[in-house]
Amino acid sequence: MYFPRAWKVIAGFVTAGITGLAFYFLPLFQSAATATVNTGPVSVPVPNPLPTTTQPFTVLLLGSDDDAKFPQDRVNTQSMILVRVDPGTKQATMLSIPRDLWVSIPGQGMGKISTAYQTGGADGAIAAVESNFKVHIDDFVWIGLEGLVKLVDHLGGVDMLVTNPVLDDFYPADINTNDPYGYYRVAVLPGAVHFDGVHALQYVRSRHGDLRGDFGRSERQQQLLMAIKARAAHINAADLPELANAMQGELKTTIGISRMRQLFSMAGDFNGPNVHRVILLPPYTSEGFAGGQDVIFPNWGQILPLVHQSFS
């Protein structure tokens, strides 16, 4: 077959251009390629692709204290947030799962739901949530302490509204330290603030001085997600490679590039009233004692109808 010389030249330029683009997006492809193999002892199955971009999907967000106190990939999940996104109606629901929720963990027996990730990786956490909450999870995102700091910093910080002073004399000094068991004092002052990564982490991680304990922290974590969403609305696909590069090893996810692009492009569409926040306070839960430790008992009779309404 004979191609005119001009076509060969054009093809050469097109190839060069594609190569340039490929190199630019290389960190993103590398991140996507390694996303599902770093998830623990058991590889996570690749989730089912979405038939259409307007179909609702559910993502399990996992946050762990992954400092030097814990062996790598043997960490608990201090934060578990189930997020349902409906691109069609531009509605989203965030449900914070208490870390001390006393549940049946598949293959493990009764335990705090936060330990499911420690023993089973992301697979275990997903299985525990799916079996107890009767939901299907399409994707997960796991992030560690430094990952959250890097994410916020890479977005140029986040604007938040601190509802009340958050003062904690026992905030863990476990990042960039030789003594991960140390503490320091934290004071986050109320009002509108522009947080960098370290201070955003302090705000969502502190719990000792809050009357609501872990529930107060859950509310602040949802607040940070909203702030990250607001900042993400300002970035585009060209920002993703640099973001992926910065997050190498700090974030694990099964979310593919196409859904990630979709999420970023939708971020601006989800306004405050369209995002529903759920925290499982009493009567959905009650405090108690089991397995020699303080736990939170679920009231499934109250929780499951709520979950069915929001996540089905």
């Binding site: 026992f170 004092r185 109320p190 522009h194 607040q223 607001a230 585009n236």
Partner: protein
């Protein structure tokens, strides 16, 4: 067959040159595409400048603001740094204009210092560092009383029965060194973070922000008026309105505040008439709505309210103003590309 004989007919140095040039051009094109893609990145990170590197709209009087741990004096549209970038924040000028009291914050404590208006440190008023970090204290939100001598501030007294409880209470002391022992003015609700934003009144009373947590675990803030030390005081605003950060006009007839009405993403700047003697306010009027507003402050002549809010596209906080007598006038952005601390109220004097 030799290699020379294998060349196509007409293969010569010119063609080799053209081919090489084309290959080079293709490589350059690919390189250009790579960099062009990078240019498409959104400008998420604001190019923050130091205040001294910028000019801004001229405002009446003199204002003290903070960025990156340094206090700046803002006058006639330009900024002058009066302290180094060393944890300085929340400056408050005395009514007679002779003194500034400011917070110097470290990793695990903060102290109040007395400064001259040029930034020269005169005295350290509190000593909140201890050998045991757990016995360190915080001191924030200093404000001079009308006598330019009494100093009100938030401070965390330790709970001897529970080291997890850290709530700020408002204390008062004399600013003249050596300072007298501070006396506790307010009793905060436990595990709420405490009482902040003291605004001393001419009659000896105090307006401040008090926090509470209701039976549904919702945090509320109220602008609170307390006539005397230790008295229970009254809420000037409803808990459900979540108002905080009060500012009072010089003639004490107007109250500006930030109200979030249960929201977690935006807050309104609202202004109400103030009746100190009657311990009441009029119906608040929203002046800036659905913006992340913080730290309002009246100008000395009462013609403007300064406040902090992000720039047009979010990001770090800038200085804005709005006229207090015209809810219809849109707010005006005074600074751009700064990263002012919105928890440090712009302190405005003549």
């Amino acid at each position: 067959m030799s290699s020379v004989e294998a060349r196509p007919v007409g293969w010569n140095a010119t063609r080799v040159g053209i081919a090489a040039a084309l290959v080079a051009a293709m490589c350059a094109f690919g390189f250009g595409v790579y960099h062009a893609a990078a240019l498409l990145r959104a400008a998420t990170k604001t190019q923050v400048q130091r205040p001294t590197e910028t000019r801004a709209a001229v405002l009446p009087g003199t204002m003290y603001v903070e960025q990156s741990g340094a206090i700046y004096r803002f006058k006639q549209g330009s900024f002058v740094r009066i302290t180094p970038e060393d944890g300085w924040t929340q400056p408050a000028i005395s009514p007679d204009g002779n003194w500034i009291v400011a917070v110097k914050r470290s990793l695990d404590r903060s102290d109040l210092y007395l400064l001259r208006p040029n930034g020269r440190v005169v005295a350290q008023l509190t000593h909140n560092q201890s050998r045991d970090i757990g016995r360190n204290h915080w001191a924030f939100y200093p404000r001079f009383g009308p006598d330019s001598s009494t100093l009100y501030f938030s401070y965390d007294p330790k709970d001897p029965y529970n080291s997890y409880r850290v709530d700020l209470a408002i204390f008062a002391t004399k600013a003249d060194p050596p300072s007298s022992p501070a006396v506790q003015w307010t009793v905060p609700n436990e595990y709420t973070g405490g009482d902040v934003d003291p605004v001393p009144l001419r009659d000896g009373g105090l307006i401040y922000t008090k926090f509470s947590i209701d039976d549904n675990s919702n945090v509320h803030s109220q602008v609170w008026l307390q006539a005397r030390r230790g008295s229970p005081g009254v809420g000037l605003t409803k808990a459900a309105d979540d108002c905080s950060q009060p500012a009072v006009s010089k003639d004490e007839t107007l109250l500006a505040m930030v109200c979030r009405h249960g929201g977690l993403q935006s807050a309104d700047l609202e202004v109400a008439s103030l009746d100190v003697a009657g311990r009441a306010i009029g119906a608040p009027a929203p002046y800036v709505k659905e913006k992340l507003v913080g730290s309002p402050s009246f100008s000395p002549d009462g013609t403007l309210i300064a406040f902090m809010a992000p720039g047009d596209r979010g990001g770090p906080f800038q200085l804005w103003t709005v006229a207090p007598n015209s809810a219809q006038t849109p707010p005006s952005q005074v600074t751009k590309n700064l990263d002012l601390d919105p928890t440090s109220t712009p302190n405005w004097t003549t």
